[in-house]
């Protein structure tokens, strides 16, 4: 009994926490009379969301799609560059500082240039999502490879395996936990990237919706947009968490196995 109760708690902890936070948020908004144009209460956000359900969904799809495309490119590029950086010291030395510098720059600054080259809308959003999110993948893959235990590598080397074989058979599997950790960060950044690009130049997407809503001071709708992004982020995260569980069971065998 007690055991099941605990399990139930753990399973639903997330919902309960969310409900709790929404409740607190509502109470604060109502209690302190926080003006709606500043920080709308969840109830206001909810009714705004319901009232504009269809346009919100339409914009959400656009954002979801661009984000996924940008993210997919980021994963591929991050993996390839991460492998290069983690494998070849010269690439590491040459590329890493440059990438760090590049990544410290807010990507919004490039959107205007992208707009001029690719027109407003989907392409700049995809590219921004890509530019903002490939770096964590790269860093984590490179670190995973560089911290590979040489003993495991020796197993493959003793078989006369090529560098590529070693990468495929031990490097990448060993770097998988790092990789999945980075996906969780990268997907959230990808959403940020596409939304930001949409706020700067697009007629579509949640970013546009938020811009439009805030220009008519409809903060409840802005927050509805924010929450839709958050929900999409969580959905993607759950997907990765599921994949991670499948693919890195070996690494998560400890007492905290259930944890990450």
């Amino acid at each position: 009994m007690a055991f099941n109760r605990r399990k139930f708690m753990i399973k639903n902890a997330s919902w309960m926490l969310i409900l709790l936070l929404l409740l607190i948020w509502e109470i604060i908004c109502v209690g302190f009379k926080v003006p709606e144009y500043l920080f709308p209460a969840p109830s206001a956000v909810w009714s705004a969301g319901i009232a504009r359900w269809e346009p919100i969904m339409m914009h959400a799809w656009q954002t979801f799609f661009t984000t996924l495309v940008g993210f997919a490119i980021a994963v591929v590029v991050g993996l390839v560059l991460g492998v290069a950086v983690g494998t070849y010291p010269i690439v590491y030395k040459a590329l890493y500082p440059l990438l760090v510098g590049f990544n410290s720059i807010p990507k919004v600054a490039f959107v205007p240039v992208l707009v001029v080259w690719f027109g407003i809308g989907t392409v700049p959003a995809i590219l921004t999502a890509f530019l903002i999110s490939f770096f964590p993948v790269l860093v984590n893959v490179a670190t995973g490879l560089a911290t590979l235990e040489p003993e495991l590598e020796d197993v493959l080397r003793s078989l006369g395996a090529s560098k590529l074989d070693i990468l495929r058979k031990v490097g990448l599997p060993r770097a998988l936990p790092y990789f999945f950790a980075s996906l969780k960060v990268a997907i959230t950044l990808a959403f940020v990237g596409s939304v930001i690009s949409e706020t700067v130049a697009s007629n579509m997407g949640i970013g546009y919706l938020m811009m439009a809503a805030s220009s008519s001071m409809d903060m409840a709708l802005v927050f509805a947009g924010l929450i839709v992004i958050g929900v999409m982020g969580v959905v993607m995260y759950e997907l990765f968490a599921w994949m991670e569980k499948r693919f890195t069971r070996w690494a998560n065998r400890g007492v905290n196995a259930t944890a990450v």
Partner: protein, 259 residues
Amino acid sequence: MAFVKFEEVSLAYEEGGALAIKDISLSVQQNEFIAVVGPSGCGKSTLMKLVSGLSEPTSGYVYIDGRQIGGPQKCIGMAFQASNLLPWRTTLENVMLPLEIVQPYRSQLRRKRKEFEAMAMELIERVGLKGWEHKYPWELSGGMQQRASICRALIHKPQLLMLDEPFGALDAFTREELWCMLQDLWQEQPFTVILVTHDLREAVFLADTVYVMSKGPGQILVKRDIAIERPRTLAVTYSEPFAAQVHVLREHIGSIRKS
């Protein structure tokens, strides 16, 4: 011509640091079975790394099959001292690993997967791991891991088999069983073996030649031929000549320690 040849080989792990092994010269004939014994830390594992091309000598030369070694070799099977199983693979997958790397298995793998799996299963059964083939390494006991690692060294029928204390974590009976299995395999279809061990009986039972190394920096002090007839049975180990051989080796090692 010697299959494996060391010419005055020395190795220091750190540039300019202490030598791990010093001026080792030896040669192993094709299909010879040699054993290397010596005190802990004398450089036996280092020697193995040199043969397999995992380390490069600081001075001297290592040849395999007449060619100087310039990196990892393709015809080698190696069981490491620590089993080094890949934790994301099951026992069977770990054992199959060499078949994914080494030719000609590699290119046949897709077609013949079933057949190769049967091969792997046979080996796994032979070392007594039947029923554990779908377990992950951390679900195996220490000795089981070691046996899985032996299978992985054997599966691709390497020309040169290198075993670094392969039976250290096994009880006496399992160990003796595996001695016999190894000898059988070797006699069915000969290959060259380099065995590192602390068990002198093991060395005498299995090897044609036993090398005794000095304590670090490791040098070869004694080379001893074991002229006991093949196939050797476990009964032989209780025989007088066998005991004598073991005793002589023991004396050698004892005298090294005192020096």
